[in-house]
Subunit: 484 residues, 2 copies
Amino acid sequence: MVESWVNSAERIGVDLHLELSGPGGRRAALIRALREAVRSGRLAPGTRLPPYRSLAADLGVARNTVADAYAELVAEGWLTARQGSGTRVAMGVPSAPPGQRGRAQPPRRPGRVPRKAPVRAHGPRHDLTQGTPDASAFPRTAWSAAYRRALQAAPSEAFGPGDPAGRRELREALSEYLARARGVRSEPDRIVVCSGFAHALRLLFGQGGGGVLRGPLAVEAYGLGFHRELLATAGVRTVPLPLDEHGARVDALGRERAVLLTPAHQFPTGGPLHPERRAAVIDWARAREAVVVEDDYDGEFRYDRRPVGALQGLDPERVIHIGSVSKSLSPALRLGWMVLPERHVGPVLAAKGEREAWASVLDQLALADFLVSGSYDRHVRRMRQCYRRRRDRLVAALAAHAPHIEVTGIAAGLHAVLRLPPGTERSAVKAAAWQGVALDGLAAFRHPGTQMPAPDGLVVGYATPPEHAYGAALEALCEVLPPA
Amino acid sequence: MVESWVNSAERIGVDLHLELSGPGGRRAALIRALREAVRSGRLAPGTRLPPYRSLAADLGVARNTVADAYAELVAEGWLTARQGSGTRVAMGVPSAPPGQRGRAQPPRRPGRVPRKAPVRAHGPRHDLTQGTPDASAFPRTAWSAAYRRALQAAPSEAFGPGDPAGRRELREALSEYLARARGVRSEPDRIVVCSGFAHALRLLFGQGGGGVLRGPLAVEAYGLGFHRELLATAGVRTVPLPLDEHGARVDALGRERAVLLTPAHQFPTGGPLHPERRAAVIDWARAREAVVVEDDYDGEFRYDRRPVGALQGLDPERVIHIGSVSKSLSPALRLGWMVLPERHVGPVLAAKGEREAWASVLDQLALADFLVSGSYDRHVRRMRQCYRRRRDRLVAALAAHAPHIEVTGIAAGLHAVLRLPPGTERSAVKAAAWQGVALDGLAAFRHPGTQMPAPDGLVVGYATPPEHAYGAALEALCEVLPPA
């Protein structure tokens, strides 16, 4: 059996055949083939591998076979995996000396039992993928203090089985905060705590179609592949909505039962949904008795203009508002929330189960204190300043070294989109990988079913590098951009 | 007994006496008095109640008594609690129309779908259901200290996206602890952190049959219905194994692909699996290339004999060992672990996703510190003493007031089984409910497909009531038992 993923490979800029042969089934064969491709240098460090789905389709194997193979190679240290940025060849993997024909050895990490790389352990030198805040800026002292205060103040029952809606202290604090900061029309009884956006999607759309909402679900033509995969696994068909300079073309909505939007800051292209379209999508939802799922993933971070309020404020009975602390504080906390129309509260709680099985109740209490004490606002304001400066440095670096590159989507959020000349995205992403700069092209976020034109561009996350490393990351970025 | 909080009341501008009188202990009396004060309008909506400490001092009761009373009334909707703003009388609480003498009704929370009450919100007076440790015994100070230390010591990357295997610090600490305390043969790379036993089951058996293991799955004829339901939802057929005085009849195992056991302390009947059967089930698994899933839910709590080691120690490649802190510390933490055969590590990680989406990384770090610093051992030893005393009090109370009732399953764990005369279980459970005693009969745990005889019995959890309420709970229990 010899099969190839030339098609996928072309899309990601790698000319490669994979030979699935030898003993032990397809999974073992795929692991061997990928390992050999990395070891031999045919897959360069930093190269992004195709999504499970497309490689599985190309090779004619099950999606789980690809997932298992990737996981195994991540565990062995050959690959690294990050949500939203996909699976990549690890940096620092030694290629084979000439003549070596023995079994490929995974790279040794010092002081570590050889198995299971931590996520990003062998990350590239400069991480400009989107999606993660500056981990070095986590407010350790203020958070620890909130945690200690919250634990001391908590009633005993807080240490028993948890209410699946989440701690009331947190829902009250969130209700107040979201109303004040994001224009959400909420009350504590409309809020259900969860462990992040993906958990919220799982609760809403269930597995095997057993969720609270039904598909088909309209989604933006550009978005996180991870979310599309999660929905596909749950048996939910997604229908791509084209984007233009005013955001998602909600006039293209038809008979879908729900639409998933990033209205404050389209992910990844970066603009807010035009006010007329905000109104139009609410009208559509009312007329169709449909639901708008609002992914407010970075609504706190807006730099130049008045913040765009939550779409939910237009009609709390037609919009499910979802947020989390993953961008504002840390993805390590696993805390998020859904603000639900009244009719969805009961079904979502039923989907969650009789007791809290996911979100740490003690972290919930700490977040409540962190919000009520004003620490959350202080942290967000501080990080807004920090990220605004980073954005300004990005814009300045490009103006100085690549003035022909247009930067868009910079009014808000933790990433920008660099528009590239047609046909240059693939080679730019490849060049970046070779230079140890991890970032994604727009193609990585494109819904496979969309017909809209495919602009060339790079999605540059500027929040992840620690402060001291940001300047070097920008220099490296400028070097991999296509010339004028 | 008539006591007042005039002093506190003056400080907060309310002139009021509270009368602590009537049956059921001070906590119940305080709840009644506060409820009546709100209902009658003597405490106006929005009024701030005194802090626990000062009301406790004024009334000469324990601080926890006040905390529990407030929590109960918050759960019922009479009061609202917010960190930083204290506990207040809820808005919109209707005061009684003149002449009303019925039981006060809690206010409806606006905009809330009537649904299942949150766990224990409207709980019975005495909670003798199994499964939850004493929430009032959570080691707040030691845990907060571990959390603070762990956060200060953590590298920055800990606040970024998490490794789905779990933090290495925690896996190393667990590996050492489980080897020492439970005889588990582990290493950190065999451990995957999860959010509790149910999460582990979901990862192993997946949804729609897409999991790491396949059914049919043999289970003990008596066990948690919640687990059976979860497996059924995932499309896994369960085959009941009969139980006898030596535990599960593993000789009845046939062509199943896996078996789920509680070898240290059969749940709920309470005995350990006989040593010969421990060996036999391993032989079966080896011969069939099957897997034993070991639910070590309360292995730390053994009172009279040498602890029964984990079955996993007999063959780490044939047993998946699963544990959590839900019994030993608190179900509020949502932390558990799986110790896996090597071949299952990759697939379980693939099922979990590319990064940690569930268990709080910060709580993971805190647990690692809690284990390494010896705080976990100290807490477990302290609770073992406490629960052993409770078990002894249960046995003594039954010997004194119901000597005809046999108590079994008392060598370990947080619950006992009271054997009842044939045909009396249903009426005993019903009588208990009428008397405000929550507990379950054995029938609630019975696999619907089993053919084994159905003994009558009550499953009495003795860990849940706070210490001060345990005596009253035992008295109430003895009153609902069938006569000799």
